[in-house]
């Protein structure tokens, strides 16, 4: 589904991604792991269009999407969450998701402005869709709460809900369980599985090794902006290069 080829991303003197090659297959849950600074979030940023790569190519469903803007890439079917739960804190939960639904609008802008019956019907339909997503994600009871007032775990779930609302084929989750307790993590893992089952391919950046092992079909390990290993979770975590990369990282203790 997604091919990253020889992607380089440098910021002035700092090289965050160093000729990276990576594939994401249809319908899988891919885990992207690696020590801090390995380039995981940078990878997501490049793929989702937050900034373009310095060199290299990204192909999605056969199309070259290198250098496209974030909204263009979202329209093509890639959606993401941010490390810090980035929300419209001044809007309600429902309104947050509703913003995400906007791409589904079919009626022409003029009809929408004039509030024709067709436009109003569609707005109703999209609101209903937003509610559906909230129910799917378990947030429907909070629909009128201000997003900024939600506890951390719920904010993360809300971020994911908004990302799903755009109707993506590929969802990039950046540290979805960071800062959550055990119960919340279990709920999130379950949610992610159900999202995949509904037909969305998922890539996850995560530091929590237990979750990663639990959730992901396949792992890719990054270090210094390059892929140093890939394969099934159990196998990967026992590989020497991987353990070495993590030396100096407390996560080495979490390795199963």
């Amino acid at each position: 589904m997604l091919q990253v080829r020889k992607v380089v991303k440098s910021f002035g003197g700092l090289v965050a991604l160093n000729s990276l090659d990576l594939d994401i297959e249809d319908s899988e849950i891919l885990g992207v792991i690696g020590p801090n600074g390995a380039g995981k979030t940078t990878l997501f940023n490049v793929v989702s269009g937050y900034f373009p790569p310095t060199e290299g190519e990204v192909r999605f469903d056969g199309e070259d999407i290198t250098g496209l803007r974030a909204d263009e890439i979202a329209a093509l079917g890639i959606s993401r969450t941010f490390q810090a739960a980035t929300l419209f804190t001044a809007l309600s939960v429902l309104e947050n998701v509703f913003v995400g639904c906007h791409m589904q609008y079919k009626t022409h802008i003029w009809k929408r402005l004039l509030r024709t019956p067709a436009a109003l019907r569609e707005e109703g339909r999209l609101k209903a869709r937003a509610m559906e997503i909230l129910e799917f994600m378990g947030l429907s009871s909070l629909k009128d709460e201000l997003a900024g007032n939600l506890p951390h775990g719920h904010q993360k779930i809300l971020s994911a809900s908004m990302a799903i609302a755009t109707g993506p084929k590929l969802l990039l989750l950046d540290e979805p369980v960071t800062g959550m307790n055990e119960t919340e993590i279990a709920a999130m893992v379950d949610l992610v599985r159900r999202i995949r089952d509904s037909g969305i391919t998922i890539a996850v950046v995560e530091h929590n090794m237990k979750t990663v092992v639990n959730l992901c079909d396949r792992l890719v390990v990054l270090n210094y902006g390059q892929k140093i290993a890939e394969g099934p979770p159990r196998e990967i975590l026992e590989k020497e290069e991987v353990i070495e990369a993590y030396l100096g990282e407390k996560e080495a203790d979490d390795v199963a």
Partner: protein
């Protein structure tokens, strides 16, 4: 979409209360010229209406996260364009008005295309440069009358409103009603846009443009749209202004005018996209008038008033009524804009 509601009463009574209040307000406004006879006070009313229109365009841009310092510039463009249409092309005012709107909008499109590209702060800088540049342009072009401007701009031609009367623009009252119409049109258009998806997109962009973009919102296009609409509306006000005052002078359209417009909106309350500008403009135009002892003290009174309001009513005049705008948090987020603008520049953090 912004809704102001009082804390008592449920949704249905809220809407009913608003509708009744609005209806009463409209009736009062329409009947006003029967009560107010003094041309001087009529003039003040008309000017506050114009200022309210301009202040609303400030809020439109502010919603999308941009502070525009070119409001007076487009006001001037509309005024000069209308003057040219009527005096050089011998068109009727009623043709010149829509034409000026189109001209202002088109220029807004071209300029906005360049300006909106820049980061939020770049936009402010560039709009400031335009604001300063436009006066020099107006002043140096001979066919625009140079720095002395053009006088003797004719009033709008008389029109016949079916079933009502033949309206001649010989006194203040017809201008007042025309201003009301323009104000009404502006309010209707802006409300419709704010309530529609575009308004939501603007609010999303203003709250977190990166997030909005990642959700598929074309930030540039929506901001450009806002800029074009703001420019067109300012141009409309300019066209009216030229034919009401009867003269255009470059000095009237300087950056300070834009800053005053900003102040009207801010003092009214940035949380309120329609009421705030109206309240701010009316209060800031009238109170110094009512309090003046002699004409020379007036700017001092205005200045003191500005300072008092900003000291004691930081969220604007409308906060006095305990009205909670749903978008109060939006207002705060917008205030953060100013800090963001400073911070993103190497003001070394604040």
């Amino acid at each position: 979409m912004e809704v102001a509601y009082s804390s008592k009463g449920g949704p249905r009574s809220r809407v009913k209360g608003k509708t009744i209040a609005s209806a009463l307000a409209v009736i009062a406004l329409v009947l006003l010229p029967l009560v107010v006879k003094s041309p001087y006070y009529m003039h003040i009313l008309i000017m506050s209406g114009l200022n309210a229109i301009l202040a609303m365009t400030f809020i439109t841009m502010l919603r999308t996260g941009l502070i525009s310092l070119s409001i007076a510039a487009f006001w001037g463009i509309g005024a000069y364009a209308s003057m040219l249409f009527v005096m050089r092309l011998k068109a009727s005012f009623w043709l010149a008005l829509p034409a000026s709107i189109v001209v202002a909008g088109l220029i807004g499109l071209c300029i906005g295309y360049l300006f909106v590209r820049s980061a939020g702060f770049g936009f402010v800088m560039l709009s400031a440069v335009l604001g300063m540049l436009i006066i020099v342009v107006f002043g140096n072009l001979k066919f625009l009358g140079g720095y002395e401007g053009i006088e003797s701009i004719p009033p709008p031609d008389q029109i016949t409103i079916p079933l009502v009367a033949r309206v001649e623009f010989a006194s203040k009252a017809p201008y007042y009603y025309l201003m009301l119409v323009l104000l009404f049109v502006t309010i209707v258009i802006l409300r419709a846009i704010y309530a529609a998806w575009t308004g939501r997109a603007w609010m999303a962009i203003g709250l977190n443009s990166r997030l909005a973009e990642s959700l598929g919102v074309n930030v540039f296009r929506y901001r450009l749209w806002a800029f074009v609409i703001s420019s067109a509306i300012a141009g409309m006000a300019g066209s009216f202004y030229a034919h009401y005052i009867g003269a255009v002078i470059p000095g009237s359209f300087d950056v300070f005018k834009t800053i005053y417009v900003h102040i009207f909106a801010i003092l009214g309350g940035v949380d309120f996209a329609i009421l705030g500008p109206i309240v701010g403009s009316v209060v800031m135009t009238f109170v110094p008038e009512l309090l003046r002892i002699t004409k020379v003290i007036e700017p001092i009174v205005t200045g003191v008033l500005v300072i008092l309001i900003i000291l004691f009513l930081p969220r604007g005049l409308l906060s006095l009524f305990g009205i909670q705008a749903m978008s109060t948090h939006v207002g705060r987020r917008i205030e953060k804009l100013g800090s963001f603008i400073k911070a993103s520049l190497g003001f070394r953090a604040r």
